[in-house]
Symmetry: none
Amino acid sequence: MERKRMDCPALPTGWKKEEVIRKSGLSAGKSDVYYYSPSGKKFRSKPQLSRYLGNTVDLGCFDFRTGKMMPSKLQKNKQRLRNEHLSQSKGKPDLNTALPIRQTASIFKQPVTKVTNHPSNKVKSDPQRAIEQPRQLFWEKRLQGLTASDVTEQIIRTMELPKGLQGVGPGNTDETLLSAIASALHTSSAPITGQLSAAVEKNPAVWLNVTQPLCKAFMVTDEDIR
Amino acid sequence: MERKRMDCPALPTGWKKEEVIRKSGLSAGKSDVYYYSPSGKKFRSKPQLSRYLGNTVDLGCFDFRTGKMMPSKLQKNKQRLRNEHLSQSKGKPDLNTALPIRQTASIFKQPVTKVTNHPSNKVKSDPQRAIEQPRQLFWEKRLQGLTASDVTEQIIRTMELPKGLQGVGPGNTDETLLSAIASALHTSSAPITGQLSAAVEKNPAVWLNVTQPLCKAFMVTDEDIR
DNA sequence: CGGAGTGTAACT
DNA sequence: AGTTACACTCCG
C-alpha cells in the first residue's frame, strides 16, 4: 500500500487513497495517509476532507487511516454543541470535524453549507476555492459510489429543508436562502437542471413555493462565477 | 529585518542573517531566513549550515529562524535510531542530530560557546575546500539517512551490546562508551580503526579503561560489515 | 514559492 | 502512550 494511489470505495468515484511510510526522523516507520480528489487535490487529514466535502458527506464514521466506514465510530460524535449551551450565545460556530447539521435550528436539520461559502474564516483558504468548492461538493455527492440510493437521499434531504422552513418564521429566511443558493450552484453545472426538474415532478408540492427564490439565487451566482 | 543582512550574535563574526518575506502565493506573509558566511556564501537551512560548520559548532540548540540559541531545544534533540525504543533496559544515549562530539564534550565540560566566539576557527576560511570536504563525509554519514549513516548506526548499536556483556558498569558507562565511539568516528577522516587509535593517543588517561572494550566492539562490527 | 516530508502540540 | 492534525523545514 505504500506509495501507491488506490481507489477508495468509501469515497466518491475518482478519489484515491495513498499511504506513505516515513523513512527517517523521529517518526520513521510511521505512516501518513493522504487522499486525492478526482481533480488531484491532496488531503492530509479528516478535518480537511470534511471541510472540503462539506455537510453532504457524513464522515462521522469514516476512518481516515483505513479509508473505510466504521459504524462503531458513530458514538463518538457529540460534544460540539454542549459548549454552546453552557456559555453565552456567541461562541464560534464549529466549522470543524463533524456534521454541521446540528448547528442551526435544532428542529430543522440545516446544513452548514454557508460555512463552506465563507472561507474567509481563519482557515487559510484561497479566494478561488471559495467558489469552486460548493460545486464540487455536490457533484461528488451525486456521483458517489454509493449508488442511486444516495442520490435519492440527497435530493430528498435538500428538499426537506425548504419545506420545513416555509412554515417557520422570518428568522430562518437566511438559511432558506442559503439552501437555495447551494442547490442552485449544484444545478448550475449543466445537466443538473434536468435533475431538479425530475425532483420537482416527484414532489411538486414541496418545491412549488421555493422554486422562484431558487432561480433568483442561481442567476446571481452564475454571473458571479463568470 | 526584511531584506536586510544583519549580524548574528549566535554565529561567528562576519556572518549575516537575512529574512525575506514571501509576498504572494499560498505562503504569502511567511518568511525565509538566510545566512551568509563572511565570504558571502548563502545558507538556506540549518542542515546546510551544520554541514558547513562541521562538528566544531553545536547547532543543536541553534534556532535557524530566529538566529538565536535556544537552550530549551536541547531536550528536543531527535535521533535517527528509532528501533531502539523497544528495548527499555537502558537510558537512551543521545547521539543525535547534534554532533557526537557534544556528548563527549559534556563529559569533559567543554562549552561550545567558546568555539562560537572564535571565528578564527575554520569558519573564516571559507575558500578552502580542503577542510570542508573531509568533514562533509562525516556530516553526511551522521546526518543523513544514507547508507553510510546506517553503517554508523549499526556500529554504535553493535558496540552497546558487547559493552553490556562485559559488565563494565551501570548507567554512565554506557554513555561514556558510546561517546567514545562517537568521538572516534567523528574525528576520523579515514578508516574507523585508525580513528580509535588516534583518540586513545590523545587522551590516554581518559580513554584507558574504555579503550579495550571499544576495540573489541569495533572489531566485531567490522567483521560483520564485511 | 510550492509541497513532500517531518516535527510536535493537543487530544484521546 | 498513541494518534491526529497541521505547522514548519528544506530544498527543488
